[in-house]
């Protein structure tokens, strides 16, 4: 399908594809195997200016938006759905600074992130607060010119590797969801340490780690937005970051589709290539249709966000994530099927895609939460229309 990309958007795709093909492909098995953090790839992304594709030029980025981020993430994920998270997860934690940060905060953090010198991580989830984010226990107590953080965050992507952390903590427990605030915490702050490094099913080339705050003192300037705005920060962030997760899912699915088509043309059974069998053809046709539908939804949503940041996109962003991740799971499962026995073997890149795809149905809000949000928006819209 023709999406009429601009010259610069085409360049982003070309560049991301080349990094994926030339730099990531040769090492993807290595990182999947060892679960090391792919610092050399971060360097490549940085040198190519891809770390700043969604950051304004005045802060050292290349001035694109959510759409440009999605394009880069999709291309990278065609080859590896895990390693690209260094970029996507950093964006998740950079959006709050872009949306709610003061000029000083933007000047302090965005240029280094755009240059790829620093990675960022977003920390909301806690052991007892997953889908129910309001149950978070981490606290931030104001003391003079500082806040003191205490508590534990878990499953934090880029945890331990990132320099900049956006942490949601309760400043006033009595106010419930209006008692949370967002903070910027830098690595190496006294009282901030890292706990367990998770061993995962997929996206093993990304780091997922526990953050521990023990009397961690940060200056009050590190409050992001206003006190009590924590969940607003989180929700607004998700509105712009979910298309990015969706693009990750899209990339994984598109990569699987591409490989499956090529494999079906090469693989010979019963004296002919298996692509000549209708059983395979129909599978491929469904896969391709779903991938394209997912792409169209994501691109349209991303363009909508970039065009007018004031439009509410909670519903559309949730749809992107929901649809693209379900498609990714289905398409990668079918791609393994096309590969048959080889698809199940770790020597081939297919089973990895299936493992990588699964997380996209879970993080940044499970798909069940996505459905809740979509439904809630639908009902609200209908109610408003009635009035």
């Amino acid at each position: 399908m023709e999406y009429f990309l601009s010259e610069e958007q085409k360049m982003i795709c070309e560049l991301a594809r080349r990094i994926a093909e030339e730099k990531i492909k040769p090492v993807r098995e290595h990182y999947d195997e060892t679960e090391e953090f792919p610092w050399p790839i971060v360097e490549e992304l940085a040198k190519a200016d891809l770390c700043g594709v969604y950051i304004p030029e005045e802060y050292g980025g290349t001035g694109g938006g959510v759409f440009e981020l999605c394009l880069a993430v999709e291309e990278l994920c065609k080859i590896d759905g895990g390693i690209a998270l260094v970029l996507a997860a950093t964006a998740l934690a950079t959006f709050p600074i872009m949306l709610f940060g003061s000029d000083e905060q933007k000047k302090k953090y965005l240029p280094d992130i755009a240059a790829g010198k620093k990675l960022a991580a977003f920390a909301l989830t806690e052991p007892g607060a997953g889908s129910d984010a309001t149950a978070i226990q981490t606290t931030a107590k104001k003391e003079g010119d500082s806040y003191i953080l205490n508590g534990t965050k878990c499953f934090i992507t880029n945890g331990g590797e990132a320099q900049v952390y956006i942490v949601i903590a309760m400043t006033d427990k009595t106010k419930g969801s209006r008692g949370a605030s967002a903070f910027i915490v830098e690595k190496d702050t006294h009282g901030f340490s890292f706990g367990k490094k998770e061993k995962k099913m997929g996206i093993r080339g990304s780091a997922t780690r526990e953050l521990i705050f023990n009397e961690c003192k940060i200056p009050k300037e590190n409050l992001l937005g206003r006190e009590g705005q924590g969940f607003i920060v989180a929700l607004k962030t998700f509105d712009v970051s979910r298309p990015g997760v969706a693009a990750q899912a899209l990339g994984i699915a598109a990569g699987a589709l591409e490989d499956a088509i090529n494999y079906s043309r090469e693989r010979v059974q019963f004296g002919q290539s298996i692509s000549s069998f209708q059983a395979i053809q129909h599978l491929l046709a469904d896969m391709a249709t779903e991938v394209e539908a997912s792409r169209a939804l994501i691109y349209t949503t991303a363009r909508m966000i970039d065009k007018d940041p004031k439009i509410r996109v909670t519903k559309e962003a949730a749809m992107c994530k929901l649809f693209a991740s379900d498609v990714a799971m289905k398409v990668t499962t079918d791609a393994v099927q096309v590969y048959g026995g080889y698809g199940y073997m770790r020597e081939y890149p297919m089973e990895k895609r299936m493992r990588d795809a699964k997380i996209t149905q879970i993080y940044e809000g499970t798909n069940q939460v996505m459905r809740n949000e979509i439904a809630l928006a639908l009902i609200k819209e209908a109610a408003r229309a009635k009035k």
């Binding site: 040769p26 090469e266 693989r267 010979v268």
Partner: protein, 409 residues
């Protein structure tokens, strides 16, 4: 001058399109280009960048493509140039194998032309080597002695060979397509303003035109080109190592040795050779090896190269590798065979766990016998293999080593 399509002959059949190695031919509507024809609607057009290689001439059934060359006249007095020369490469005083191969082939060319076969030998203390060359069929050896020539260096070698050619006027000069040959042959040819054809694999004489037909692979061996130097002399070529048979030694063969000394002071020397370092990881160098055993991605890790090494040792061969294995850091680059590595043509090439990407194939497909060991029956390597063994290399390679040890003792 140049290439052209004969407007009224071209039917737009598109047979030429595929033949162009540079993809420059397109079929367009005659109307669009303002060349209407009562019968044919389409016509071929040739884009810019054509180097007049002529690949499209033969496929055209209608002779609708013409290459017009300016009425060329010899640029030198061709009749003054006589005899076939071979540059006898030496390292540390040892005549290199390629020199004997050139003598074998040069002998044939000289006999066909009814001319003498001469060798040029540059070095220091090369008396024995000069006699060796005579015994291998040279009618004459120009033995140029000087301490400055002891080891190869571009400048003095270029000076001496160029001067000698200008003085003696040979018709043909053959050199090995080795590092040394390829480094300075081009300088010599550029200084003399004559033609040089790189890396030839076939040489023949067109007696009528009294020309050397130099055939060489291009596009990594996917196409062959026959090249001539019609109007300049000498006709120079570098020749690929191991393509031609070495000349047989005949103790009673007679020839003359013309020995000269050069004074280093009269030669330019702008480079300084500080050190020569042997690569100890290479037991036998790939270019010289008759047998090469190569390992690829299928080995899974650097430690597994030991089974490749053992097989190579048993056969007295060298160890090669695919780009994948080199890029993974399992073995140094000096072992890489293929487009960005070395081009090899041993008698036996055994590819173990190498899938056979085109870039690898172009580096080894001119080997005499290719053995492929791979567990993927669809691997492209099997398409070029003389013998294919579908199986686990970790079983097959040791079994092969064992069997060879039994047989070879």
């Amino acid at each position: 001058m140049g290439i052209k399509i004969v407007d009224d002959k071209c039917t737009g059949c598109s047979l030429c399109v595929k033949s162009c190695p540079f993809g420059l031919i397109k079929i367009v509507s005659r109307e669009e280009v303002g060349k209407p024809h009562p019968k044919y609607k389409k016509i071929a057009v040739i884009g810019e960048g054509c180097n007049l290689c002529g690949a499209c001439l033969e496929p055209c059934p209608l002779e609708a493509i013409l290459i017009e060359r300016e009425e060329e006249k010899p640029r030198v007095d061709i009749s003054q140039y006589k005899g076939v020369w071979v540059f006898a490469e030496q390292k540390k005083g040892e005549i290199q194998g390629v020199a004997y191969e050139l003598l074998g082939e040069g002998r044939k060319l000289a006999d066909e032309l009814g001319e003498k076969l001469s060798c040029v030998l540059l070095g220091e203390g090369m008396d024995g080597a000069a006699k060796e060359l005579i015994a291998h069929g040279a009618d004459r050896v120009y033995q140029i002695e000087g301490s400055i020539l002891k080891n190869f260096q571009d400048d003095p070698y270029t000076d001496v060979l160029s001067d000698l050619i200008q003085k003696e006027k040979p018709e043909i000069v053959l050199m090995g397509a080795t590092v040394i040959g390829r480094s300075f042959a081009s300088r010599v040819a550029a200084r003399l303003g004559t033609g040089l054809t790189a890396d030839c694999t076939e040489l023949a004489i067109d007696l009528k035109a009294r020309q050397l037909l130099q055939t060489r692979p291009a596009f990594g061996g996917n196409i062959m080109a026959t090249i001539t130097t019609p109007y300049n002399r000498p006709q120079m070529a570098t020749v690929r190592h191991k393509v031609f048979k070495k000349a047989v030694k005949q103790e009673n063969h007679q020839g003359e040795i013309i020995k000269e000394s050069v004074d280093g002071k009269n030669l330019s020397l702008r480079t300084k050779l500080l050190d020569m370092v042997q690569d100890l990881t290479q037991t036998v160098n790939l270019a010289d090896a008759d047998i090469i055993v190569s390992g690829g991605r299928g080995l899974g890790g650097p430690e597994n190269f030991n089974i490749i090494e053992e097989l190579a040792r048993t056969l007295g061969g060298a160890v090669g590798a695919s780009r994948a294995a080199v890029d993974a850091g399992w073995i140094p680059y000096s072992h890489q065979v293929g487009q960005t590595g070395r081009t090899v043509c041993p008698k036996i090439y055994i590819a173990c766990g190498i899938s056979g990407a085109i870039q690898h194939l172009v580096g080894m497909q001119s080997s005499d016998i290719i053995v492929a060991i791979n567990k993927d029956p669809n691997a492209p390597i099997f398409k070029v293999a003389t013998y294919g063994i579908e199986g686990d290399l970790f079983e097959v390679v040791p079994a092969l080593t064992k069997r060879l040890k039994e047989v070879l003792g």
